[in-house]
């Protein structure tokens, strides 16, 4: 398929999704974190509000239930464990790749 059609379709898809996102953002309380937004919207219904779409000052934070529940250490431990298992599996798979891609 011609490249301009591919990117045109992608741009159209993005345009529709962003329009829906902007409406949803304003209709469900504006600049609110997701959990607070969904709780408020489902209890009180739609309520127009604004705020900035991007708040770089807040930075990237660990999800509220983990941060406030004091589970950050467990979260980091799980990440380390999953990454270690993932890398170990990759090394294992890479080592045995020559052996005909056996089924596991």
């Amino acid at each position: 398929m011609q490249r301009w059609k591919q990117y045109g379709s992608l741009a159209a898809l993005f345009a529709v999704a962003i329009a829906a996102g902007l409406w949803g953002f304003r209709a469900t309380g504006g600049a609110l974190p997701w959990a607070k937004r969904s709780a408020k919207a489902l209890q009180r219904g739609v309520k127009e509000s604004g705020g900035s779409l991007i708040d770089l000052g807040r930075g990237v934070v660990i999800a509220g239930p983990i941060r406030k529940g004091g589970m950050v250490l467990e979260f980091v431990g799980l990440i380390v464990l999953l990454v270690a298992v993932g890398i170990a599996l990759y090394v294992y798979a890479d080592r045995y790749r020559g052996l005909n891609d056996k089924t596991a």
């Binding site: 209709a27 504006g30 219904g45 000052g57 467990e74 596991a104």
Partner: protein
């Protein structure tokens, strides 16, 4: 990023039972197909890495659209395939619920939502590749559509179930949920672009990872792509 963040007891009991049964049914079918079709060793490795990446990013709240997290379920679906993608969705949701991010009672519903994202993204990606699309637009479109499908399912689950303690009539609840779904579509664009770049990079260093061999042969491998 669709994910039902309601607390325990937010859904009526019948809804919990219903979504848990449907979720168990989905995982049962997926497990049966995986056991019947087998998994290549390298696909397990890909699934392990995908689960780690998805779980990690699941817990990070980004300061855009008010504060959202990404799932990477579209990326996981494209790389690991629909069967392993659904299993990864289950694993990520179990770990997340264990940390308090998502209710344990909603594991079935949330697994359904995230598995849908992975499955839809996989099939859209395969379809677009067969239509000879480039890697970036194909993967970005697939991830965006997959995530949108998950968001719509999330909304449908909430509306069908109703929310305990909410005085909203069903019509008003539907409008509120539509707003949440709409926001998710906006977030899907960010995740779609990210997925597009990741898949394009992987295609440049390991083209077999994104199934370019499949495109040439016109074959489809339900258990995922090759590594």
């Amino acid at each position: 990023m669709a994910h039902i963040h309601l607390g325990e007891g937010s859904f009526p009991l019948w809804a919990l039972v219903l979504w848990t049964l449907v979720g168990v049914g989905l995982i049962g079918v997926v497990t049966y197909r995986v056991r019947k079709g087998g998994i290549k060793t390298h696909q397990i490795a890909l699934a392990g890495i995908g689960a780690a990446a998805s779980f990690a990013i699941f817990q990070l709240n980004l300061p855009v659209w008010g504060g959202i997290h990404m799932n990477l379920t579209g990326l996981v679906g494209i790389l690991a395939g629909p069967a392993l993608g659904a299993l990864i969705a289950l694993v990520v949701n179990i770990f997340s619920a264990a940390l308090g991010h998502g209710a344990v009672g909603l594991l079935g519903a949330n697994t359904l939502v995230n598995a849908t994202e992975a499955v839809v993204a996989y099939y859209i990606f395969k379809t677009l590749m067969r239509m000879d699309w480039d890697i970036f637009p194909a993967s970005a479109s697939a991830a965006t559509i997959g995530l949108s499908a998950g968001a719509v399912l999330m909304g449908a689950i909430i509306v069908i179930s109703g929310v305990n303690g909410s005085a909203l009539p069903r019509a008003d609840l539907t409008i509120a949920v539509a707003g949440l779904v709409g926001l998710n579509l906006g977030v899907a664009v960010i995740e779609g672009i990210l997925t597009g770049f990741v898949v394009q990079f992987l295609a440049s260093v390991r083209p077999d990872l994104v199934g370019l061999g499949d495109r040439q042969q016109g074959e489809e491998d339900l258990s995922g792509v090759t590594a």
